[in-house]
Point group: C2
Amino acid sequence: MTKHQQVKKNIQQWIDERQLGETDKCLPTENELCEMFHGSRMTIRKAVDELVQEGTLYRIRGKGTFVRSRNHILQSLQKLTSFSEDMKERGMVPSSKILLCERIAASKEIAEHLQIEAGEEIVLLRRIRLADNEPMAVESAYINVKLSDDAINDLTSGSLYGYMREHLHIFPKWAKQSIGICKLSEWEAQLLGNSDLQYALFTNRQTFDTNKNVVEYVEAKYRGDRYKYHTELYL
Amino acid sequence: MTKHQQVKKNIQQWIDERQLGETDKCLPTENELCEMFHGSRMTIRKAVDELVQEGTLYRIRGKGTFVRSRNHILQSLQKLTSFSEDMKERGMVPSSKILLCERIAASKEIAEHLQIEAGEEIVLLRRIRLADNEPMAVESAYINVKLSDDAINDLTSGSLYGYMREHLHIFPKWAKQSIGICKLSEWEAQLLGNSDLQYALFTNRQTFDTNKNVVEYVEAKYRGDRYKYHTELYL
DNA sequence: AAGTGGTCTAGACCACCCG
DNA sequence: GGGTGGTCTAGACCACTTT
């Protein structure tokens, strides 16, 4: 392992162990890091550069290098994987209503998506997603993480990632997603507030942590008459 | 402008002027680049690093630095913005059938998406997209680029980006996309080979060049019973 | 004025590829 | 063995922010 990789790993551990997640914290200066790791400035900068690239840190010239708040990490995942951020950008207030939240045994199909054995215990969280108190989607999250009863009783998408990071040291890093259309059952159409709806925009997502485990599998059906999915693509 | 930015720009120009797009070409060695630009190795490497990051170049230790073939650039755009790459990955053969290809005056709505004035002349390319010779989507591309008659007569999505790069020095760099569902007209359902289809997966996309001009606006309606859109998301 | 990150230099040693 | 990219060093000057 090269020196800048070691430095990067050390900084990352320091960030993770630090339990202060609310406000952004300042890193030691680059010269201090040079002394701490007995490395030249270019080497230390290479390590920090990568963490900046990955969004973990950010720099302000003349001031210092800072750890991005947990909040931002969460937002960037939500920005990439959900519609909530989209709603906010359109000036709507997102909320959710829990339909179901309990431990279940994984069915064969769900187990496949979570890359575990059928029958293993997981947590199912089924919610209605609303924008300005109007139903927009019905979402089922299958969570492959050992959660305490307290955590289950106080579960929102927001606090889930936070809980995983802070208590379980699990770090969601990337996701596979597909988008298509599906038929709606009459029951689902009613949940979405319009029993005439026949089709919905369907999304599913596997979220992976740094160790390539699937931490959750989420399926959602969105009202096709109200919502579109937006992305930006770079070359 | 910093030195490594100048070097990067110079290398980029050299790549663009070079008309050999078929096979990958080798760049001068890093030491030669140092002499050419009167810079130190670290500075030259910073310039090359960025081009590698952006996918323009790639390095092989012990051999040299290479320009990625145009083909790859095209693929990476298609991978991000279309379903064709997806079809290939599933072992299907993508093709397309041109329904319409002509100069038209931009309607008010299309002009808005292209960020031009209504009535300006653009090119409309309407195609059926097929996988293993089965219709999968109907796609309309509104192209905001001055194309020669020859170029219009020989237009495929593949050659469009190539033509823009090589003859017009226009470089598509990023795109905004949205995905939703839409109703299909009976005529469209027939084009897709199943007149019973009522809903389709709808996508639209604005493609921007390096100067933030919209070079094309594309709408497509995909068979919801056959296709899903796949993405991978990173934090 | 002092301290921060942003950039650059001119060397050096290493691992890898090829003839 | 000679050339390539991969890494690292110990300085230096600059632009910017804060005191």
